[in-house]
Structures are given as C-alpha cells and as structure tokens.
C-alpha cells in the first residue's frame, strides 16, 4: 500500500486537523470528540443540520459545513460510522433552539449510531429529526435488503435542506425539503478499481484488467455485477437508464445532472461522461437545468464515477441556487 500518510490510525485526526487549519475562516474543529462545525457558533432560532458518517468520502461531509449547508459534520473512522458521542457533542454545539436535522446515509451502522445519538440529544432537550438518504438504485429496496444505500445524492440533500434552514424554515419544513429531495434523487456508480482503506492496506476488491464493478458502493462494497469494461458512453447509458427508469423521469422534466468522481478519476473522464449523459437526457426531452461535476462524494482513491439525477421543481431549484459558502461548494458569497 502506498499512501501519503503517517500512522494509519492517525489519518482521520490529522486530516481533520489540516482541514481546520486550512479553512479556519469557515469552520471550527473539535478534536475530542472529533467533529467540524461552522465558525461563528450556533444561530439562535435557526434550524441546524448535522451530517456525518465514515471518513474517506471527502469532501463529504466536512467540506459542506458552512453558510447555506451543514452546521456540523461528524467524521467517523475511515468507512466506519461515527459513534453517538461526537454526534451528540456536535448536536449540542450547533443547536440554536430551533431543532436539529440529521442527514443520515442509509447504512445500518450510520442509522443505528445516529438513532442512539438522537435519543441522547433529545434527553438533553434538543429536538432532533432524521432524514435517511437512500439514492442508490444499484441496490434493490426490498424486504430482503437493508434498503438502498445513501451515496452521492447526499450532497444535493445537504444543499437544498441547508438553504431551507438558512432562509428560516422550521424543523418540519427543513425535513420536508430534505425528504422531497431524497424522493427526487437517484444515483448509480461504477468502479474500475477500489480505494485502499489505510488500516486495511489492501483494496476493497480487485478487478481484472478488463472488468468493472457496476453498481459499486462508496465503501468499496462490491456492486451489482461485474461486467467487461466498455466505452464510457455505453457505461453512462446503462447507469442513466437505471436511474431514469427508477425515478420515472419523463420528457419535459427539469433535472439536475450530477457526475461525481470517486476520488481517483481524472476530470476529463468525468466531463466525457457528463457530455454523454446530457446528450441522452436531451434526446429524451429532459431539460438539464442545473449541473454539478467533480469529486464530491468519493471513496478514497477509487477509480470510477457515479451519476445522480434530481428532478427539480421551482422551490428545489431556488434552494439549489441559493448562496453557499463551504470549503467544497461555494457560490454567491
């Protein structure tokens, strides 16, 4: 394993410290327990947003802490949900009396730890609502699974819900925006090569030179199936078909198209994929009215990408466009 790290056990602590130093104008870092919150403290009367999960998906979530998005982010160990303690500490630090919304990616570990944290925070007098993000169409949602995974669409949810909180919506309204965004969002990804978890020292899976993992998760979980490498246009067509079909996108719909890099994919490849996806949607009469391209929800240095489509209404569009000032997404400020 080759990595630019010191002791694998220190990866998260050191990275969060560096993040705090580099973005001292935007965030304050708590080191024990580890969480990242917006500079400036809790805003009285404003709903606060807390998200978190295993590390290794940066800039998610700490990169989205700031005006117009998250109030705090709680990074767990690499690919492992944080425990309840730091979630509770972050909750108490950012609550401005109007309640706290947890944005939780749908993994058993995240769900259970945020659940426990919510119980503990409620015991401290904070009103907590939770929204589960489960946008990954690679996983069948049925009685026979833990439900769909939360992947790249999480960014969209954090953006629209954050903007709703910023404009002064109450907790129920912010939660409604978050749930509406989840309901309007679907994603699916593909990997050419897995990332390497520092303490594991080995890739999550190994693919042959002509194989790709189709429907891969953001923790290097093996995906839906392994298929032979194809030209990216064909791969995009498959991903998009699964998304469009599941979301029920039809001619005339306005959508946000998001091509997300998994961390080790050159920018040119993301834009080549974007081009194809935009063309195909256009041919279907779908209006791509907003877009996002880049490494936003990564899986360490995984080579691959995911596609996300969110069906936009006027309000979601307005919330997407609202000013935001975070380390990884900034506009209008």
């Amino acid at each position: 394993m080759k990595k630019l790290i010191n002791d694998p056990a220190d990866v998260v602590r050191e990275a969060v410290a560096g993040f705090g130093l580099a973005h001292a104008d935007l965030v304050v870092v708590s080191h024990d327990p580890v969480f990242v919150r917006r500079a400036g403290g809790a805003v009285a009367g404003r709903v606060a947003l807390v998200s978190g999960g295993g590390s290794g998906h940066e800039p998610l979530h700490a990169g989205f802490v700031g005006h117009g998005m998250l109030s705090a982010a709680v990074p767990g160990p690499v690919f492992t949900s944080p425990t309840p303690d730091p979630i509770v500490a972050a909750t108490l630090a950012v609550d401005g009396g109007a309640g706290v919304l947890y944005i939780v990616k749908n993994y058993t570990g995240d769900v259970l730890n945020f659940e426990t944290a919510a119980d503990l925070a409620e015991a401290e007098g904070v009103t907590v609502e939770s929204v589960l993000v489960d946008d990954d169409v690679a996983v069948k949602d049925s009685l026979f699974t833990a439900g769909r995974r939360g992947v790249a669409g999480t960014v969209i949810v954090e953006k629209t819900a954050g903007a709703a909180a910023e404009r002064g919506d109450d907790l129920a309204a912010v939660a409604e925006i978050a749930r509406r965004t989840v309901a309007a969002t679907r994603s699916m990804g593909v990997a050419l090569a897995a990332g390497i978890v520092p303490h594991a020292g080995e890739p999550g899976f190994v693919l042959a030179e002509d194989e790709i993992e189709f429907g891969v998760g953001i923790h290097g979980e093996p995906g839906r199936e392994r298929i032979p490498l194809e030209p990216v246009d064909a791969i995009v067509d498959r991903l998009l078909a699964a998304i469009v079909d599941d979301l029920g996108v039809v001619s005339g719909d306005r959508v946000l198209l998001f091509v997300n890099g998994m961390g080790g994919t050159p920018s040119v490849e993301l834009y080549i994929a974007y081009r194809r996806a935009a063309e195909v949607l256009g041919e279907q009469g779908v209006v791509v009215s907003r877009s996002l391209v880049g490494n936003y929800v990564t899986s360490l240095e995984m080579q691959g990408l995911s596609l996300t489509v969110t069906r936009l209404d006027d309000e979601l569009t307005e919330l997407w466009d609202a000013p935001v000032e975070t380390a990884a997404l900034r506009r209008g400020r």
């Binding site: 295993g54 492992t80 978890v197």
Partner: protein, 216 residues
C-alpha cells in the same frame, strides 16, 4: 459451582485478546461481503474496554463490568457492530442485576438478554446472515444444557459450540440485513464476519469459565 466477577473480567480480557489476534481474519471476511473493517472496529473497541476496565474498583459486580463494556463499545466501535454489540452487553448487564455469583440460569439469561438486545436494535431474523445466527443457537443450546442441569462452564461450552456451528451455517446464506444484503447471491459462500466474531466472544466466555472452574 458459580461464576463471579473475576470470570467476567477474564472473559472480557480474553475477548479483547482474541478479537485483536483475529482482527485481520475478521476484516478479511468483511472485505469479502462488506467493507473490510469489522476486525479493526472490534479491536479498537476492546482495546478501549481493556483500558477502561483498569479504572473499575476491584469489587465491581458483574453487571457493572458488563455495563462498562457496553458503553465503551457504543462510544468507540461505530459502524453496525458497535451499537449492536453495545446493546447486547447493555441488556445483559440489566439481566444480571445485582448478582455477584452467576449460576447456570444466570448465564442463560445473560446470553438471552444479549441476543434480544441485538434483535431489538437490528431487527434481524435467524437466517438473515448476521451475528444473530451465532447468538440464537447459542441461547438455545445454553437453555437446553441448563435445563439438563449442567454447570455454568458446561452451559457456556454448549453455547460456544452452537455459536461456532451457527457462524459456519451463515456461509451458504444470502444476506438480508447489513452491508452484505447489497450483494444478493454474491454473498453466498462467505461467512458473516459478525457471526464469526460473536462466536469468538461466546467461545471466550466458555474457555475462561472452564479455567475459572479448574482454579476454584
């Protein structure tokens, strides 16, 4: 013949040793059908448990020791296993109550409460390819063995044997809970890491009980 808080400490200590020794094997199982961190998660958690145990008074009753394990795992493991095993120890501590000496029935209720805690949090059924597939056979075997009049060490031995078989029994299964459920048929042929670690935990209980019994 009964078990006391010395056994509880020995059990926890042995568990810490075993999950540390097996951390790579457990993570490797998890890498096959999950995200490859299960061994690391437990090793981290039990290292913290070991450290905090030194702060307990020598005469702490079994329930206090087990509750410390629970809260430590909850606050240090994370992932799915942290809250699940944490709840298991939390419910087990509640079941132990004030008891300082554990007879065969106490051991059965300890195991039962632990299993029930996991099911309460995780909502898994038997056969879902989770740690429940180690705990439930263990509870059943312990119940039967205690009913037949076996001593605590023997009860735990039968639980451990059943847990080991239960862990192995997850191999042919398709998972319906946790990360492995994303894999569908591709999980077949792989042992569930949580069932394996739970089998190690119960085996550590049996092994240390056997030694306690010899010494006493």
């Amino acid at each position: 013949m009964t078990l006391d808080s010395t056994w509880v400490r020995a059990w926890i200590e042995r568990t810490a040793e075993v999950v540390t020794a097996e951390r790579h094997a457990l993570s490797e199982l998890d890498r096959q059908i999950g995200d490859g961190d299960h061994g690391e998660n437990l090793a981290r958690g039990f290292a913290a448990v070991r450290e905090r145990m030194t702060e307990l008074p020598d005469d702490a009753p079994p329930a206090v020791v087990v509750r410390l394990v629970a809260t430590t795992l909850i606050s240090t493991v994370g992932g799915a296993a942290g809250p699940l095993l944490g709840t298991a120890y939390l419910k087990a501590a509640a079941a132990l109550g004030e008891a300082r000496e554990l007879d065969s029935d106490s051991v059965v209720s300890l195991l039962t409460a632990a299993r029930d805690g996991i099911v309460l949090r995780g909502k898994a059924d038997s056969g879902d390819k989770t740690m429940v597939d180690a705990w439930t056979p263990a509870v059943e075997a312990a119940t039967e063995s205690a009913g037949a009049g076996a001593d605590p060490a023997a009860v735990l031995r039968s639980a451990a044997d059943a847990a080991a078989l239960g862990a192995a029994s997850t191999e042919p299964l398709v998972a319906r809970k946790g990360r492995a459920s994303y894999l569908g048929d591709r999980a077949v042929g792989h042992r569930d890491p949580g069932a394996q670690s739970s089998s190690l935990i119960i085996t550590a209980a049996a092994d240390t009980a056997a030694e306690s019994t010899k010494e006493s």
